[in-house]
């Protein structure tokens, strides 16, 4: 039986894993290769590494971190942040990523999705969507959530899928960093509208939140960053609780 995936996300700044609340008060949470290996040992089904600074000046640092993280990681590994063109994606794959995540660049140039998918396969292209509730709908924001696009999240997810995206990583900006639960309404709206997998992100705080996003939100995978750092929620413990709640998970693994 296909299991629901638990994805650990590492936010990286200048080659170090950092954690703060809504990108403020960043605390050093360690070396990306060590963090990724620890999460994988603990039962993470995939690792996502997001370069939150992603300026062109630190590409070398970023690629070095990707290479060292990929070196002894044998679960799927996604890298995002600052990928604006095919060559950026190629460099990240060459450093050892299995998938790349693109966000703003895909909104500005949707053909980037098909260019990367055409060369590396759709399974390697994750389109990340940051969505915020505006009245009764969900609007797509880009540039780290600073710029509204006027686009509807579900419609954009459908277009991204049609362009060759292999998965959608859907972040609720309203819930991100709050640890008060995923936005199941948002996740379900998108998950039911497209045939590719949806990774829910933003708001994870407890095992109950994961049960709800899989059951009510129809998510295929759920991603969390903050709760998996500093031992707040242990992935192995989370998987035991999901298993007990009859959510299929890779456990034991």
């Amino acid at each position: 039986m296909l299991t629901k995936r638990i994805i650990a996300c590492l936010d990286m700044d200048a080659g170090r894993v950092v954690k703060g609340v809504q990108f403020k008060n960043l605390r050093d949470a360690g070396n990306p290769a060590e963090c990724a290996a620890a999460h994988a040992r603990n039962g993470a089904d995939e690792i996502v590494l997001l370069d939150i600074t992603a300026t062109s000046g630190n590409r070398g640092t970023m690629l070095h971190a990707v290479r060292s993280t990929a070196h002894s990681l044998f679960v799927p590994f996604t890298v995002g942040g600052g990928i604006r063109q095919l060559d950026d994606a190629a460099a990240v794959f060459d450093a050892g990523a299995d998938k790349i995540a693109i966000n703003s660049a895909a909104v500005r140039d949707p053909e980037l999705i098909s260019r990367i998918a055409g060369r590396f396969g759709s399974q390697a292209v994750v389109v990340a969507i940051d969505a915020k509730r505006i009245d009764r709908s969900f609007e797509v924001f880009i540039a780290g959530g600073r710029v509204p696009t006027g686009r509807d999240a579900t419609q954009w997810a459908q277009e991204a899928a049609a362009s060759g995206a292999g998965e959608i990583m859907l972040t609720s900006m309203d819930r991100d960093g709050t640890q008060c639960g995923f936005d199941c309404e948002l996740v379900r709206a998108v998950a039911e509208a497209i045939s590719i997998p949806v990774i829910a992100s933003g708001g994870a705080g407890s095992a109950r939140d994961f049960v709800e996003v899989f059951r009510d939100g129809r998510a295929d995978a759920a991603l969390a960053a903050s709760i998996f750092h500093f031992g707040i929620e242990n992935i192995a413990q989370l998987k035991r609780e999901l298993h007990d709640a009859s959510i299929p998970v890779r456990w034991p693994c």
């Binding site: 296909l2 044998f74 050892g96 299995d98 292999g166 045939s195 295929d220």
Partner: protein
């Protein structure tokens, strides 16, 4: 030496990295002569069945078929396993190696496609490649087309229907999942291939 065949489709780093980690001597090559000279062959692959066209245009197809019929251990991964069948609905004008009968087909519309994630593998007894792999171990899949159930099937998974996750006949092995991305279970499968 194990040759990892590069025919221009996707990213072969992960496969090479996993064999490197196991201490195997591997070379990534797109040259038919080098592939033919190797002791063992790995045919990886992601993406569309049409990318296998390159095998035909470069002479790799002949080299691979000769090595396979000469009894050299051969492992097809994902699209590389699908190539071992007669063909695929995904691209009907490209012929597979037809070592196993039948064509690869799309998943039924009752399930999302592609099939992405960790699924359990029902293992048949007696497989060399899956030797000492626990029953119902989880392996990582990412694919939209699946191989049919054949008598040479050594592992099966369920996704809308039951399909072949692993096949094996003498020196020819195929896995639809990605052992290089399937954690310790996957590494043990690649180690078994190194030891065949």
């Amino acid at each position: 030496m194990i040759a990892i065949v590069d025919y221009g489709a996707g990213n072969l780093n992960s496969v090479k990295k996993a064999f490197d980690y196991l201490g195997a001597e591997v070379a990534v090559t797109g040259q038919p002569e080098l592939a033919a000279a190797a002791d063992k062959i790995v045919l990886p692959g992601v993406g569309h069945f049409s990318s296998l066209r390159t095998l035909n245009s470069t002479g790799l197809r002949q080299a691979l078929l000769q090595s396979a019929s000469a009894g050299k251990p051969f492992l097809g991964i994902c699209l590389g396993m699908q190539w071992l069948f007669e063909g695929s609905e995904e691209c009907t004008e490209i012929a597979g190696a037809a070592i196993f009968p039948g064509k690869c087909r799309q998943f039924p519309s009752s399930v999302k496609s592609p099939h992405v994630g960790w699924n359990s593998l029902e293992i048949q007894e007696g497989s060399l490649l899956l030797r000492e792999v626990a029953q119902d171990s989880f392996v990582y899949y990412t694919h939209s087309f699946h191989a049919p159930i054949v008598s040479a099937m050594t592992g099966a998974s369920e996704y809308g229907l039951r399909f072949a996750g692993a096949v094996e006949q003498d020196n020819i092995f195929g896995v639809q999942f990605h052992p290089e991305k399937s954690g310790d279970v996957g590494l043990s499968i690649l180690k078994n291939f190194c030891e065949v």
